[in-house]
Subunit: 135 residues, 2 copies
Amino acid sequence: MSPDSTRKITLAPMLSVRNGAKAVEFYQAAFGADTLFRLDDGGAVVAQLSIPGAGQGAEFWVADESPEHANFSPETLGGCTVRLVLTVEDPDAVFDRAVAAGATTVWPVADQPYQWRVGRLVDPFGHHWEIGKPL
Amino acid sequence: MSPDSTRKITLAPMLSVRNGAKAVEFYQAAFGADTLFRLDDGGAVVAQLSIPGAGQGAEFWVADESPEHANFSPETLGGCTVRLVLTVEDPDAVFDRAVAAGATTVWPVADQPYQWRVGRLVDPFGHHWEIGKPL
């Protein structure tokens, strides 16, 4: 354990996208995300979102890309360097809702040999999500 | 609130890297990360790590890239699509330890006009971290 072991620590991914405003709308529709913070700055958006759940929920950030600051969208780079592992109690329902909101199935939710029930989708902004739960 | 509001939910980023084994060593040295799970499969590593703190700590995953499965390292794409916002009580100390372990400063920890004390670094595998706390 580090000297920080009694101190609060959180890690939240910040997703770079093209069209942050539309991305926030998508994550609200797909995951029921609440907006905790939002800054609109000359067309660019930075937003802190939380997918509701027990405790503080699942927090993440969405921001318009700014390649001049080394923040690249998946559309600009042609792929993702981080995928998002979303653990929920009912992965089938959460996955289906996201697809209904506009995400595309990469592989459907199924029981995997590594003892997770999980599926993978890509959202309209190019970010990949694995939605599942341990069995 | 969604129908899931009373259910446990977590979101953990999975970082694609070249040389997952060395990346795990780096995150142990830089952040004092504990290994919660590790699978070694023919040279490729998938590991679940946690940076200790109050509660369950800050969990993330590290995995060797697999471009055939759309998992790309920052080295392969030449940039990052997600940056990692690590909130800690002492950002200066956490930042300095990571730099001592081999990360490179993008901009140093300082008080920002948006009321965070935060700095940005890039780790040896090309992932960008913003390490800070709200003021």
